[in-house]
């Protein structure tokens, strides 16, 4: 069908890819005026399979990719094939950075209209001279120690040049702070799932939080609505690290910072795979890296539904029950969660009412 909007989601077997693809399919399958067709791309099929998804088994580095984009008349690409890794290895670098570069090149050749990328606020880097609220215009100068952060930095600096070369292509980059949620696996959830949370003695930086559902919803929002540019996306509250550990009922373990930096260097130099003591890069436990949300509110026009406290409470509730029950977390017993859910639904209804009034 010619008037069908074709959306390509890469990395569709991963957590973010599968969630965004099902979100797009569930939201728009009933909309007859704007029909969409979602193509999923990954090296292995998603399990469990996603209903209504047109799956194509291929790698993003495939040289035939531009032919695929051209022949399927892809309108929008949501690039989520990114491997989270603490250590920098050549294989991961090839997938993350070279994969993105090749995909962007293919998009430019096949006249794709829009590309959406998921990035992180770590690209700003944690420095003592950072302003209290970093705007999107600030130069990216992140720390090049941890694999994923380094790869994102490479991708973003490549995108800066790419945007100048291809002014007609709508390139949307969403930068997220620490993502928290029951199913996702990020630096923050790994940090809070440890028996004790190691922190640096005498440092208590301000941090931002976002819930995984808001990440998925904002990515879907960026796919459906044309918003070119870079946006910081986070929940409204800014809270300190000790408050985050307190709210998620975690006992902190303070380490004198020169010792922590020294031990990190030693551990990173060991050849043992997967041995890392600090899931969050030490600089981010020491200095602040908080994004300015003005552009999210005004230009991107998206309001995260979970507040930071709600996201943390939900996580803490799951952690409490995880101690006694193995397997699927049983959250139906968590009273705080139900209360927060009701509050959130009320807020969403009010927001919807307000926007309706505005439209009228």
């Amino acid at each position: 069908m010619p008037d069908e909007k074709v959306i390509l989601v890469t990395g569709v077997s991963g957590f973010w890819g599968s969630q965004v693809a099902s979100k797009l399919l569930s939201d728009l399958s009933f909309d007859k005026e704007h029909p969409i067709h979602v193509i999923g791309l990954d090296i292995e099929p998603p399990s469990p399979p996603i209903e209504g998804l047109d799956f194509i088994q291929a790698d993003v580095r495939n040289p035939y990719l531009n032919e695929l984009l051209h022949r399927e008349q892809v309108d929008t690409v949501c690039h989520l094939a990114f491997k989270e890794c603490v250590k920098h290895t050549e294989a991961n670098f090839d997938l993350n950075v070279m994969g993105t570069m090749k995909l962007l090149g293919a998009c430019a050749e096949a006249d794709v209209r829009k590309v959406v990328l998921k990035s992180s606020m770590t690209v700003y880097g944690a420095y003592p001279s950072n302003p209290a609220f970093i705007t999107e215009e600030q130069e990216i100068q992140g720390v090049r120690k941890y694999g994923a952060n380094r790869h994102l930095l490479e991708i973003e600096s490549f995108c800066n040049g790419f945007r100048r070369q291809q002014p007609d292509l709508i390139l949307t980059i969403l930068r997220y702070p620490n993502i928290i949620g029951l199913r996702c696996d990020t630096a923050m959830t790994r940090f809070l799932r440890q028996p004790t949370a190691p922190v640096l003695m005498g440092f208590d930086p301000r941090m931002q939080i976002i819930h995984e559902k808001d990440v998925i919803n904002s990515l879907a929002h960026a796919v459906l609505v044309d918003k070119p540019g870079v946006y910081n996306i986070a929940a409204e509250e800014v809270m300190t690290l000790r408050r985050i550990t307190g709210l998620s009922a975690k006992i902190t373990f303070p380490i004198f910072h020169p010792l922590a930096y020294g031990s990190q260097d030693i551990i990173n130099n060991l050849v043992v795979e997967g041995l890392t003591s600090f899931p969050i890069e030490l600089d981010f436990l020491r200095y602040e890296c908080v994004g300015d949300l003005e552009k999210m509110r005004t230009k991107f026009d998206y309001q995260p539904s979970y507040t930071a406290i709600e996201a943390l409470r939900e996580f803490a509730g799951e952690q409490r029950l995880r101690r006694y029950i193995t397997g699927e977390p049983l959250l139906e017993y968590d009273q705080e969660r139900l209360k927060d859910t009701l509050d959130r639904r009320q807020r969403e209804r009010e927001l919807a009412d307000q926007s309706e009034v505005k439209d009228e």
Partner: protein
């Protein structure tokens, strides 16, 4: 329309209580006057009986009122004291008594012994004491519990009111008793709206910014929070950055300053920076170079008024004789002072000398009449910067000419 109706309903709901209060007050006043009259004509027995009856009625009224008050307090605080027990009360009193210094303890005992009356033999008095002490212990425990669980509020800049409340007694002691700060011109600070305090900076540790914040909090009618802008260097030090941010201080940065002023806050800048703090004793009260005029640009961009502030007394709290650039480079500090006591006495050298302080707030310099793009006018920026510097220097010299003694003013 519906909302309006609701509000009127609410008013009606509140009104009866108010009416009741007023009438009860009038009644009690009427009782007093009648009592006086009856006191004058105390000869007749009938009148005295009436007085006793009236007193009894008043007592009962008081008891019912107090009961209502207790109920209302319990509704508001949600706090119920555990049942009364004598042994536990004595234990609690003894425990909280140990917290006082011996002199305060003896004065407390004296006060209590002066007020011995039949009240002290009344069990109801002790029940009241029991209630109060239990409440204090409970609230203290609750405070610690809330801190541990992260159930406290900080604003988006990291300002932590609970923490400030906890350190206020110490800062008030330093302000009132230790430095005996005297302030003038506090009325130059506006009640609300954006404003920028520009001050000289001295002393090795930034006691002057703490005292300026305390002065505004204590003396100013609207008790404004001063946001001091501190140097980048502190951020990399453990405990210091954490402490400053909790107290509501902000990293010195043009973006931060402009954002604060646009939020109609009161900020304080120290254009001398580390050059001022690391001044040697022989250079005291001579202002160092004023940065690159970043503070003037912030004021011009936001149209905020600049209020010059002079602090006298802070230069003598630590007497630094020399500076060692070698040690400073080694430990990555901007300067390493060698004073009369530091580093010979170690941590003891952190205790400042108890000098007498004067903080003077000068006439505000308005910047809102300059046109839009004036913050890029380099000539104007440097001119304003020099003007502010001269004013502060003059204010310092004026105060110094009046000061007879460093320690007694």
């Amino acid at each position: 329309m519906v909302e309006e109706q609701k509000s009127t309903d609410d008013e009606k709901a509140i009104d009866p209580q108010l009416d009741h209060k007023d009438t009860s007050l009038e009644l009690s006043q009427a009782d007093e006057t009648s009592q006086e009259k009856s006191g004058l004509s105390a000869s007749s027995e009938f009148a005295s009986e009436q007085v006793i009856d009236e007193q009894e009625v008043k007592r009962r009224e008081l008891i019912t009122e107090l009961d209502a008050l207790v109920e209302r307090v319990q509704d508001v605080t949600g706090y119920y004291a555990p049942p009364f027990s004598r042994d536990r009360l004595i234990y609690l009193i003894r425990n909280s008594f140990d917290q006082y210094s011996p002199s305060a303890g003896t004065s407390l005992i004296r006060k209590i012994s002066h007020t011995i009356h039949e009240d002290i033999l009344n069990i109801e008095t002790w029940k009241g004491v029991w209630y109060v002490i239990n409440y204090i212990v409970d609230s203290q425990l609750g405070f610690i519990k809330r801190r541990m669980r992260g159930e406290y509020e900080t604003d988006e800049w990291g300002f932590d009111p609970g923490f400030v409340q906890a350190v206020t007694p110490f800062i008030e002691f330093m302000y009132d008793t230790y430095f005996r700060v005297e302030t003038t011109g506090i009325e130059n600070i506006p009640e609300e709206g954006r404003a920028m305090l520009v001050s000289n900076h001295s002393g090795v540790l930034p006691w002057d910014s703490v005292m300026i914040a305390a002065a505004v909090y204590k003396e100013h009618p609207s008790q404004r929070l001063v946001r001091n802008l501190f140097a980048t260097w502190f951020v990399s030090l453990p405990f210091f950055a954490n402490l400053f941010i909790k107290l509501g201080q902000i990293l010195a940065n043009e973006d931060n300053g402009i954002r604060l002023l646009e939020q109609e806050q009161l900020i304080a800048v120290y254009p001398e920076g580390t050059k001022g703090v690391g001044k040697l004793f022989k250079d005291r009260y001579r202002l160092a170079r004023f940065g690159r005029g970043g503070f003037v640009r912030m004021a011009l961009k936001t149209g905020a008024m600049m209020i010059p502030v002079s602090v006298v007394g802070a230069e003598e709290i630590y007497i630094s004789i020399a500076k060692s650039q070698f040690i400073a480079d080694l430990i990555k500090f901007p300067f390493f002072p060698i004073s009369l006591r530091w580093p010979l006495l170690g941590p003891l050298a952190f205790i400042p000398f108890p000098t007498k302080w004067y903080i003077d707030f000068g006439e505000p310099i308005h910047t809102d009449h300059y046109d839009g793009n004036s913050e890029n006018n380099l000539a104007l920026v440097s001119e304003l910067s020099d003007q502010v510097r001269n004013i502060i220097q003059e204010m310092l010299l004026e105060r110094l000419s009046k000061r007879k003694s460093i320690f007694f003013g």
